[in-house]
Amino acid sequence: MASKEELIQELSDAIISCKKDAVLAAVEKAKGVMEPAEIIEKGLAAGMNQVGVLFERGKLFLPHVMMAADAMTAGVKILEADMPAGAQKKTMGVIVNGTVEGDVHDIGKSIVSTMLQSAGFEVHDIGRDVPIKNFVEKAKEVNANMIGLSALMTTTLPGQKGVIELLKEEGMRERVKVMVGGAPATQAWADKIGADCYAENASEAVAKAKELLLGK
């Protein structure tokens, strides 16, 4: 019988292979030995994190990321029956993610959305070139815990600040965390505009979101 470490490795490798069949087989194999939450977090999510790293290194491409995310969703679905009542619907947090107004860059933001979703967050990707007020309205609508703001141009970067200011005006800043990212953004910029965190890439975005929303 495979050890827990071997099963975790198998789950992770199956996700990296981006093959749904392999993921489902690995989940079935691990089911009797590990708790569903452990299978998801230590096996599937860890594999997904590795997929993100390989994408950033040019070893895996966008269709692979999507296939891996699809396979992970399928794996999580078959584990839901074994989860304690109420745990199935429980998400790690609700995140509204988008690219700020005037900026049509989409790819990086979409990868971040996919990775956050795969990590267990409920993600509402509201697209690119999004007006400031739309972020706040969507956050109200879905009762978001966090807003993710992407900008790929120095000229659109101030839009991130605009969202934070509107959150303050609406009295929502205390309960909605703000993450910023995109090529011109930095930790110094995040500090300057009062964002809660800055993430350099998709893997870091997942880690920072977990840190902020779950204290992990």
Partner: protein, 355 residues
């Protein structure tokens, strides 16, 4: 207390570092490029030389005598007459005046004419205007004047174009449909670019510049390589420059190949042979600046990638140097200390043929 030297962060912020810290940043930057690109890191002499360039006392530095290289200018004249929304300085001037200023005042060795939208697709409905502008400029100028724009394949996707956005299709796990959209868009990109350049070449253009190739990923690169190939076939003497959008070709499609090579995930030294194979005359490699890292780290990383591209390229390499690329900070008006140091390092260490 150890002497500290004025450097920059990748976002342009002024920092002060000791020689030891500069060297450690350079070593980390070159190691990062070597790891990603699976290429050689800079050697000891090159590390020392780079540190020396970064620590030079003058605000602006230059290459040694005899090492001067040709310089050209992309983005047309938008840098002059555009506003800060598109990286310009807002000086009211016609495109003819802009081109002539580059030739006669800035000392550009070549120049390009470009439209304010600066993408090939929007040029289609105004191509007659562009042809007329090209003719007028050619009648007033001596240096080679290209026509230039971005392939910008994103304009062929909704809401700007006829094909559904593959990013949206991917999110809905419609991968085959996303692949189809990208392949159709690439065909249109090739067709439009060739059609536009047929007109511009007939109007006296000395060449064409593909600026920010592969901005929309591997399919954008695929469409551009086929456009270069078609133009070379039709115009054997046309001067073709292909500059990249970023250091690595993003794998939006993942399966597209050119000359038997998968385009997704290629680094500058892997892009160069394909650009040559397609029939271009000059390759413009790019390395992105990380805004959270120091200029020492960024420049070492950029020089490492570009040195390898120059080594393997059969074409002259005119490295892209500007805001956010080539080790230069991402700032609307890049600081002269960083720009000149990065340029000197590219010429004297990476041995680029032009900028």
């Amino acid at each position: 207390m150890a002497t500290e030297y004025a450097l920059r962060m990748g976002d342009g912020k002024r920092i002060f570092l000791t020689k030891e810290k500069i060297l450690s940043e350079i070593e980390a930057g070159t190691a990062h490029a070597a790891d990603l690109g699976e290429i050689s890191a800079l050697d000891g002499n090159e590390l020392e030389k780079l540190a020396e360039i970064l620590m030079m006392p003058g605000k602006a530095v230059s290459v040694e005598h005899g090492m001067e290289v040709p310089v050209t200018h992309d983005i047309g004249t938008i840098r002059l007459d555009g506003d800060q929304g598109n990286s310009g300085v807002g000086i009211p001037s016609s495109r003819l005046v802009g081109c002539m200023v580059h030739e006669r005042a800035f000392g550009a060795d070549t120049m390009e004419l470009g439209h304010i939208d600066y993408s090939y697709k929007p040029v289609k409905p105004v191509v007659s205007n562009e042809c007329q502008a090209m003719e007028v400029c050619q009648q007033n100028m001596i240096i080679p004047l290209f026509y230039g724009a971005m392939p910008n394949m994103g304009l062929y996707y909704t809401p700007d174009g006829p094909f559904e956005n593959p990013g949206d299709l991917m999110k809905a796990f419609k991968i085959q449909e996303a692949w189809d959209a990208m392949e159709h868009a690439a065909e249109h990109l090739t067709r439009d670019t060739v059609w536009i350049m047929q007109k511009l070449f007939a109007s006296g253009a000395d060449g064409v510049n593909f600026d920010t190739t592969a901005a929309a990923g591997d399919a954008d690169f695929y469409g551009t390589l086929h456009a270069i190939e078609a133009l070379r076939k039709e115009f054997p003497n046309m001067y073709i420059e292909a500059g990249m959008a970023g250091e690595m070709v993003l794998g939006m499609h993942g399966n597209l190949q050119y000359d038997g090579v998968t385009l997704a995930g290629l680094w500058p030294h892997q892009q160069a042979p394909l650009i040559a194979k397609a029939g271009a005359n000059v390759f413009g490699p790019v390395v992105n600046t990380n805004t959270s890292k120091t200029s020492a780290w960024n420049l070492a990383r950029s020089v490492t990638f570009i040195k390898e591209a120059v080594k393997v390229s059969t074409l002259p390499c005119h490295v892209d140097m500007g805001m956010g690329v080539g080790g230069i900070p991402m700032l609307e008006t890049p600081p002269v200390d960083a720009v000149t140091r990065a340029s000197k390092a590219m010429v004297e260490i990476a041995r680029v043929d032009g900028i």
